[in-house]
Subunit: 202 residues, 2 copies
């Protein structure tokens, strides 16, 4: 359907790594899980099935890179969500929780991949760093809330873990179809977040 830019596809693709990543991201969004094959990616990119190995040592490395990209995107989404309103920590927490869950539900396979140790392999360290970087957004809201006397001054780590676990749990359970309205009430997610907030507030 789309006409190639070059009249003859050159031997050297030029930007294959980008294309591989983009294709993989698309396949991630098109189906459940990350069972897509490297060979299928190569087919869609119109290169030989061995070509991807010039850019990634193996499939796990590609998956790890996709996970990194996901955490960066999540951090950006969270940052944007709290920036939109120069509001109270409570409002910020609600907004960022919403953004977090929305990210997960919009990209379920990608989200699950981000937290899957499969994606680890060699690059687990970087992965955890990026995860913590997204996590830090939530943590900072809590810190501000404590400083402003809105949240209880309990150890920050515990509160932060509670928030992260709550949004992660809600996101995962929703993705896996276990928080459906028929099962668990129409707005269980909002209610759950309210419960969390009541535990945090003075």
């Amino acid at each position: 359907m789309t006409e190639p830019n070059e009249t003859r596809r050159p031997y050297h693709h030029g930007d294959l790594k980008r294309v591989i990543i983009d294709t993989a991201l698309k396949m991630l969004s098109e189906s459940n899980g990350w069972q897509f094959t490297l060979r299928e990616i190569a087919r869609r990119a119109e290169v030989s099935h061995a070509a991807p190995y010039k850019h990634f040592p193996d499939k796990d490395s590609l998956l790890a890179e996709l996970a990194l990209i996901g955490f960066d995107k999540l951090r950006d989404d969270l940052t944007i969500s709290i920036g939109l309103l120069a509001a109270s920590p409570i409002e910020q927490l609600i907004a960022s929780a919403g953004a977090y869950i929305r990210f997960g539900l919009a990209n379920p396979s990608h989200y699950k991949l981000m937290f899957s140790a499969d994606a680890g392999g060699a690059g687990v360290v970087h992965l955890n760093e990026r995860a913590m970087s997204a996590f830090a957004v939530l943590r900072d809201i809590l810190k501000r809330g404590q400083n402003e006397g809105i949240f209880k001054k309990h150890p920050l780590e515990g509160q932060a873990a509670a928030c992260w676990a709550q949004v992660h749990g809600l996101t995962m359970l929703s993705i896996d179809g276990l928080l459906l309205p028929e099962k668990v009430g129409a707005n269980a997610i909002e209610a759950a977040l309210r419960t969390l907030l009541e535990g945090l507030q003075k």
Copy 2:
């Protein structure tokens, strides 16, 4: 190492389905994820690689059955944990949360499999039923707590979702190595559960 019971292994194995499930459970506990192969299971069971197909239509069906078994075990663990003490709902909630997280950390691959839609396929319905059956244990504690005037009388669904999401989130993040003491404090899990409880209590 172990001597077979029969002097000559008979053509008909007799209890192959059980052996397949047990072998799969063992492999699940021996490595990350469920990338084990049906052929390897057949090898360990000393049958042909086609034999498992007489008992499971495909690999996903086997995985689904493993997930069912997991939810049943989890429900049992939860039930036992609250039965040990004829205690207050608060103590029961803490005990069951502990049992829940311990289950996940003791069987990380199995736990993740239980919540993985991969395992769904045809039997998603039964799976969700079993999941809800485990979930009901938590829900009942909350119900009692409300009746006894210990927990806020907010809609039960929201409170239950908050509890499940909290323990599920803590379990998953721990499994994935994101709640390590170095990262997030020594007893972030206990602290997170305390935050949850403070949101529930009157």
